[in-house]
């Protein structure tokens, strides 16, 4: 092979490495990271971006160079040199990706483990009764009509440093096209997720009709809500702010409008919100929802109660309603 002289190869190698290292850290493609876990995931993404940028520049560079340098001259009907292979070179370019892939797999495993993905408590297949029991405490078991025998779907668990503090438990239920958040501690039922920063939050995720998925881009976390399977997602935010909760799994016509807000608040702000929203009757029955049947109602009728009672993001709802009005 006609490889350019060593010095040039070396300089090109250094330039590609520097560009990759710089771009891997400065691509600016991710939204704000609201937790330590999200920063770890960004770390893995930056690492992959560095490698990908290097490989991209290398291969595209080779292609461009070939197209310019080895272009057939007019009238030249001869063939190129009959090079059929080069064993050391082939071993090299098999070994390098293998090593990269190995490093990447180990790194991903480490991050996933520290997110609590292999947490023995979460990952162990708990008997379904424990989960079913947990669902009854807020007195809204009628909302579980679709899940007579809950099977546990394994989500992402507590990362080791989160495990010491008792988490704030929130039951999240996805229905077409809204999220319902119930706070067993306080009896609050809301269309918004409020949680204090620096305290772990445990979402017990379930679905009422079809598959939904809870996605909070700023936390880099996503977990499907599957009818008949309950999943757990534990996280801790570090940065106060308002973050969208997006449904990531196709759940019907207005899938794009199924959004809620996550308010990561300081403990004081959170207490204020709890005090303002705590139901008058501590039983929780007073705010029990009547669950409408999406099969027989128009979307406008269906969505209306959530808008009034639960304070779903009004802009998103107005959009959905406008759409459904158009559609009718």
């Amino acid at each position: 092979m006609n490889i350019p002289s060593n010095i040039i190869t070396l300089i090109i190698g250094i330039v590609i490495t520097l560009i990759s290292l710089w771009y891997g850290q400065h691509h600016g493609l991710m939204p704000v990271a609201a937790s330590k876990d999200a920063e770890q995931i960004d770390g893995i993404f930056n690492f992959m971006m560095t490698i990908a940028t290097g490989l991209f520049l290398l291969v595209e560079g080779i292609l461009l160079y070939c197209v310019i340098r080895f272009r057939r001259r007019p009238g030249d009907q001869t063939d190129g040199p009959p090079v059929e292979g080069n064993v050391p070179l082939e071993i090299l370019w098999t070994a390098i990706p293998t090593v990269i892939v190995f490093i990447l797999a180990v790194y991903s495993f480490e991050v996933y483990n520290s997110l609590g993905g292999l947490d023995p408590v979460i990952s162990a297949d708990r008997p379904s009764e424990t989960v079913a029991m947990k669902q009854h405490h807020a007195g809204h078991d009628h909302m579980l009509a679709m899940a007579p025998q809950s099977r546990v779907a394994l989500g992402i668990g507590t990362s080791p440093e989160n495990g010491k503090v008792e988490p704030l438990v929130v039951d999240v239920k996805g229905i077409q096209y809204a999220w319902i958040f119930s706070y067993p501690e306080t009896g609050i039922i809301s269309g918004e997720l409020h949680a204090p920063i620096d305290r772990p939050v445990q979402l017990n995720i379930s679905a009422g009709d079809v598959i939904h998925a809870v996605w909070i881009p700023q936390l880099r976390l996503k977990q499907d809500a599957i009818p008949g399977h309950d999943a757990t997602l534990v996280f801790k935010t570090d940065v106060a702010g308002e973050y969208p909760i997006i449904c990531a799994e196709l759940c019907g016509s207005y899938h794009g409008g199924m959004k809620a807000m996550f308010y990561a608040q300081t403990p004081d702000e959170f207490e204020t919100w709890v005090a303002a929203n705590r139901p008058a009757s501590e039983s929780g029955e007073a705010v029990a929802l009547h669950l409408p049947d999406p099969q027989i109602m128009t979307d406008t009728e269906y969505l209306a109660p959530y808008a009034q009672e639960m304070g779903i993001n009004s802009a998103a709802l107005a959009q959905v309603k406008a759409v459904s009005a158009d559609a009718i």
Partner: protein, 553 residues
């Protein structure tokens, strides 16, 4: 000597145009039938995509209703996968395999015709579903959504996919048997063109995985019309089981869609770079490795659906491993280009465009294999961008490369290179403009399969829509080129590219029996530059062919 052969072929019978509308068992006719049919569906599926991108130019669902958007989206995915890319791969395989291995026809010609004639009804049925309310649960049709969102549309979707799936199984049986049993006697597996290796790998994958999809769809169909509860959670069924069955086929389907086109690229690049393929065995065996690994990665589509942690780690490792054989291929193609005499005609431009953009899909593919990162981007536009780089930047560009490369063989006419280059330029810019911004959209928080989105994403979406319009425009020079070249194009010699595989040893287009006499293997498929003074002109090729033929007799 040359004139004698030309004279001879002039008298041999050719196909009439009406043959292409019959139950003809000639593999060449079936190949063309597949190709033309698949391109008709490409234009339909493409127009659906244009409607979707028009909708997504603004955040509000103002161009089509969200229901219609989901129907268009479902049909776009289904059509492009099952009725464009997969049948187009079958088109090349049908047309080329017997010619490349010196056979008169496929092993089972009638089965071959049956396989093709299952495809048009499948497609027509699918599009006709608009009359009863098209399916709108996405091409994945996950229950319980698929069970509650329009019964008849969904049922038609199932029937239609079952028809094309059956077609693909029948085709695969035929390809495997033909490749293993019908080669001329001098051709061992290691002197076989790489396209045949690619089809061997693809067909094995089809035979192992497609029946599982059929099983899943039949069970889904029972849930839908017979009231069973295989996947229906209200009756105790499990929707996740469907996902496992579905992805057991549908991940390998990605390789079913790309492997034949890896084969196409392996044929195009050596010929137009005038060099032997770099690392023949590495490319051949890496196809088999991809097809084996392809069978054990399916659950990476389900990292967020509650797969246990250790299982996610297993599927992460196997998925990442696929980067190794794929990397071997890409480096080998680059090695073939290096030092060659690259003829930048339309076929080669599309092949190099394939390398440039498939690389992008490959790199993001390794990224989404990483579980912690995939949890963030799963079901977002990042994934949409990733797989369009694989399937449009990969399969589709290679498909066009193959069309330009074999057009002279299939039609006996040369294509207009200027129109071909214009087609390439528009399509390459268009595809990057369409699919590159999607990566950023997904990372920033735009989920997929939505008709309405957050206004903050409008800028990048408009860029993407602009790219989609450019992609639509890019098909015009292609269509004009094909029609004009068929009608007025320059007549093609039997071997205009001076290629060495057997299909170029017969007339363009080939006669009904493929070869005047049994072809003789007088060089490897890619022995360029090895004995250049004897094989550098078409006359000498024909002379050598005739001489060796005479000796053989």
């Amino acid at each position: 000597m040359t004139t004698a052969i030309e004279h001879l072929t002039g008298q041999l019978p050719r196909r009439k145009w009406t043959d292409y509308f019959t139950f003809c068992t000639d593999h060449k006719v079936i190949g063309i039938q597949y190709l033309v049919t698949s391109f008709l569906f490409f234009f339909i599926g493409g127009s659906f995509a244009e409607a979707m991108r028009t909708e997504l130019a603004t955040p509000d669902p103002d161009f089509v209703s969200p229901e219609l958007y989901n129907q268009l989206m479902t049909l776009h995915g289904t059509i492009m996968i099952f009725l464009w890319i997969v049948p187009a791969g079958a088109a090349f395989a049908n047309y080329l395999i017997p010619l490349m291995i010196g056979a008169e026809d496929m092993a089972f010609p009638r089965l071959n015709a049956v396989a093709f004639w299952l495809t048009p009804p499948g497609g027509v049925l699918l599009i006709a579903s608009f009359f009863v309310g098209a399916p709108q649960a996405g091409w994945t049709s996950y229950p319980p959504l698929s069970l509650i969102s329009g019964k008849w549309g969904e049922e038609i979707w199932i029937l239609s996919v079952l028809l094309v799936g059956t077609s693909s199984i029948l085709g695969a049986i035929n390809f495997v048997t033909t490749i293993l049993k019908m080669r001329i006697k001098d051709m061992d597996l290691h002197s076989m063109p790489l396209f045949c290796w690619a089809m061997l790998a693809t067909s094995s994958l089809i035979l192992l995985s497609t029946p599982v999809l059929a099983a899943a769809l039949i069970l889904l169909s029972f849930d839908l019309i017979a009231g069973t509860s295989f996947f229906n959670p209200t009756g105790g069924g499990d929707p996740v089981v469907y996902q496992h069955l579905f992805w057991f086929y549908s991940h390998p389907a990605v390789y079913i869609m790309i492997l034949p086109f890896f084969g196409v690229i392996s044929e195009v690049i050596p010929v137009h770079a005038r060099k032997p393929i770099f690392g023949y065995r590495a490319i051949a065996y890496s196809s088999l490795a991809i097809s084996f690994l392809g069978l054990i990665v399916w659950a990476h589509h389900m990292f967020t659906s509650g797969t246990p942690g250790w299982l996610r780690m297993f599927f992460m490792a196997t998925t990442m491993l696929i980067a190794v054989p794929t990397g071997i291929k890409i480096f080998s193609w680059c090695g073939t280009l290096w030092g060659g005499k690259i003829n930048l005609n339309s076929a080669m431009l599309f092949a190099i465009g394939f390398l440039a953009s498939f690389l992008m899909g490959g790199l993001t593919g390794i990224m989404v294999a990483s579980v912690p990162f995939d949890i963030h981007v799963h079901d977002t536009y990042f994934v949409v961008g990733h797989f369009h780089y694989v399937l449009f930047g990969g399969s589709a560009l290679a498909l066009f490369s193959g069309v330009y490369h074999w057009f002279p063989k299939m039609t006996g006419k040369m294509v207009n290179e200027n129109l071909g280059r214009l087609h390439f330029a528009l399509m390459f810019i268009g595809l990057n403009l369409t699919f590159l911004p999607m990566h950023q959209l997904g990372l920033q928080g735009m989920n997929r399969r939505i008709a309405l989105y957050d206004p903050q994403f409008q800028g990048l979406n408009q860029l993407s829509t602009l790219g989609a319009y450019l992609l639509a425009v890019s098909t015009f020079p292609f269509v004009i080129n094909v029609i004009w070249s068929l009608w007025k194009g320059e007549a093609a010699a039997r071997n205009p590219w001076r290629a060495l595989t057997l299909e170029w040893q017969t007339a363009s287009p080939p006669i009904i029996e493929n070869f005047e006499e049994e072809p003789v293997l007088w060089s490897g498929p890619y022995d360029f530059g090895i004995d250049s003074e004897t094989i550098d002109s078409e006359e000498t090729v024909a002379e050598m062919l005739a001489e060796v033929g005479a000796e053989a007799r």
